[in-house]
């Protein structure tokens, strides 16, 4: 075998770096040539950047970067670190950033969603001013999210989180003359600001309790029992951190911004936020709670098992989300609530952690976020397609769309049933694994049976409103009185939607590798 040429370690950050670079390129282009509406170039650059990030992330994953043990033995030519034994998690800047399998996994998710959104935006944003700003903001946000995946210290976490949030506020409100967009932006921003204030305060308390901001260091302080004196302080801090993450992942009670933000924002941005941003929120959530607050030692200090918090959050979140979604009239809003519900599902990933193990369920949550990245993005992009065609926003407005666009509607059906988690689509697996994880944990903590039950009930309910949308487009007949003349067939949107749909279907038979990857990643962070 060829002796693999070894890249420097910082190169492991290539995915976020590439995104950042693209963002800067777009800035430069804009400053050289303001008011440019050369969509092909702009969108092209953005897509290229996102894809580059995606490719590197995938390549690193395959190359076993950040993995250790025999799993890393892929024989690829370019690798970071050692191709035979694997590198183990790569710590950068004194552990401020870390690149391991979980980081790469979520970098992939972010990059994929970004690429899809960028492609779709090509048509959707047609005719809008500030093209360049739009794309560069998009990519900056993506950079932030991609960095969140690697952030390993409360400092970097906070910075990355803000880097992701601030552009997002702007993106939501980017349709300046659209009251909906502005209202959405405002609400998103205000709640966001509030949450980040709480979050920072939480950080300060944790720092007060442990004197460190780097996650391993915190863990060590807790383990060595030096934080015992500040159990209340630490507990309060942890709860406040949860608040910050809850905002990012749109979990109850920090979810209030989500319905409005998604409804008001341009559809691609809604897709971006509800998929990538949510995923990014979850990755830091996972990292902080697995790395900084290992279950056993933390329980010893703060006097309770923090999974209880996530059990409560998970149940409440999925219930609120699904129930509120059930009777929505506005499709986008329904999707928004459903994404709240899905946040509840993903929370099971932490709720079902146990002192010994839990990599299965944590991995399941990661898989779910990946699959969700495809099906949910696709669903929102379909809404984007509908908006592009100027059909209304309500279910009734969607009636009989299948007659006009059978292929896209078939894709929509795929997304809906996959979101509902019924076979034969990818959503089934991830949801099932979450369920399994909950059941497995139930043998240790029977409160998890409640979670499992809630999952079943909510899935049943979600079936109702998802199939309602399928019913609208496929079964109901269009109101003959309004004769819509749709524009042409927007290639960008179609391409994105179809790709997402295909992936959603393909992920059913080809779920094995994804599952392995996710579970490896999960076990890696759990042992650390």
């Amino acid at each position: 075998m060829i002796d693999a040429f070894t890249l420097p370690e910082w190169a492991a950050l290539a995915p976020p770096l590439l995104l950042a670079l693209t963002a800067l390129v777009l800035f430069a282009y804009d400053s050289i040539n303001p008011r440019s509406t050369n969509r092909p170039v702009l969108a092209g650059v953005a897509v290229v950047g996102a894809l580059a990030s995606l490719v590197t992330a995938v390549w690193f994953t395959l190359a076993g970067t950040g993995a250790d043990g025999p799993d890393a033995g892929y024989d690829l030519w370019f690798v970071v670190g050692d191709s035979v034994t694997g590198t183990g998690a790569i710590d950068l800047f004194g552990g401020q950033l870390v690149v391991d399998q979980m980081a790469l996994f979520f970098m992939i998710v972010v990059a994929v969603v970004t690429a899809l959104v960028a492609v779709a935006s090509y048509d959707y944003m047609a005719g809008h001013a500030y093209q360049a700003e739009y794309y560069s903001l998009l990519l900056l946000a993506a950079t932030g999210m991609s960095t969140m995946a690697a952030a390993n210290s409360l400092v970097t976490i906070f910075i990355a989180l803000e880097l992701a949030s601030l552009p997002s506020y702007a993106l939501v409100a980017i349709l300046k003359d659209n009251r909906g967009s502005v209202e959405a932006g405002l609400k998103y921003f205000l709640i966001g600001a509030l949450s980040s204030a709480i979050f920072v305060y939480g950080i300060s308390l944790v720092y007060g309790a442990t004197g460190h901001l780097q996650l391993e260091a915190i863990a060590e302080m807790i383990a060595t029992g030096e934080a015992d004196a500040y159990s209340g302080l630490l507990g309060l801090g942890i709860v406040m951190l949860i608040g910050g993450f809850a905002f990012k992942t749109a979990s109850v009670p920090f979810h209030f911004w989500a319905p409005e933000a998604y409804e008001g924002a341009p559809a691609p941005i809604a897709a971006f936020l509800s998929s990538a941003s949510k995923a990014a929120g979850f990755v830091i959530l996972f990292r902080v709670f697995t790395t900084a607050f290992p279950l056993e030692t933390t329980t010893a200090v703060i006097g309770l098992d923090w999974t209880i918090a996530f059990i409560i959050l998970a149940i409440v979140t999925m219930t609120v989300g699904n129930f509120a979604a059930a009777t929505q009239q506005n499709v986008k809003r329904m999707l928004a609530y459903s994404s709240v519900g899905h946040a509840g599902y993903a929370l099971i990933g932490l709720a079902a952690l146990t002192v010994d193990g839990g990599e299965l369920v944590l991995g399941a949550a990661m898989m779910h976020l990946l699959v969700y990245g495809f099906m949910n993005t696709g669903a929102f992009l379909f809404v984007g397609l509908a908006e592009y065609w100027g059909v209304g926003r309500t279910f009734d407005a969607y009636n009989g769309l299948a007659a006009r666009a059978p292929v896209a509607c078939a894709a929509l059906a795929v997304f809906m049933f996959s979101l509902a988690g019924i076979p034969p689509f990818g959503g089934f697996w991830s949801k099932y694994f979450l369920f399994t994880g909950a059941l497995e944990a139930a043998s240790a903590n029977s409160a998890l049976l409640l979670v499992a039950a809630a999952l079943v009930v909510n899935s049943a309910l979600s079936l109702y409103y998802y199939s309602r949308l399928v019913k609208a487009v496929w079964i109901n007949d269009a109101d003959p009185s309004l004769d819509r003349d749709f524009g042409g067939t927007p290639t960008g949107l179609y391409a994105a939607i179809l790709f997402a749909a295909v992936m959603t279907v393909v992920l059913l038979p080809a779920f094995g590798p994804v599952a392995d990857l996710a579970i490896d990643a999960a076990s890696a962070v759990l042992v650390s």
Binding site: F189, A197, G208
Partner: protein, 101 residues
């Protein structure tokens, strides 16, 4: 003589609560924003105090970051408030409530 750490914490807590109170009661977007800034600064006080207490500089450095980000946040916020005013002819945060339920 030095002041006990708990007083700093109480101060910051008080500041935090004042900010929170502002957030909950003020309808003017700018006041809302300022209240949030108060909360952020409450955190900063903590960070600096604890840094002093623990004898490492991490907290103080982080406090600097926080201020910078706070500034950025305000910038974006003001931008949004501007378009808010342009669309609603008002900066009352309770006015834009078209999207609900």
């Amino acid at each position: 003589m030095t002041v006990g750490i708990e007083y700093y914490v109480l101060l910051s807590l008080a500041l935090f609560c004042i900010g929170l109170f502002g957030v909950l009661t003020r309808r003017n977007a700018l006041m809302f924003l300022m209240s949030v800034e108060l909360m952020l600064n409450a955190a900063n006080i903590n960070l600096i105090a604890f840094a002093f207490y623990h004898g490492n500089l991490t907290g103080q450095v982080f406090a600097l970051f926080t201020m910078a980000l706070a500034a950025a946040e305000v910038a974006v916020g003001l931008g949004i408030i501007l378009v808010l005013y342009r669309n609603f002819r008002d900066v009352d945060v309770t006015v834009p409530s078209e999207m609900r339920w």
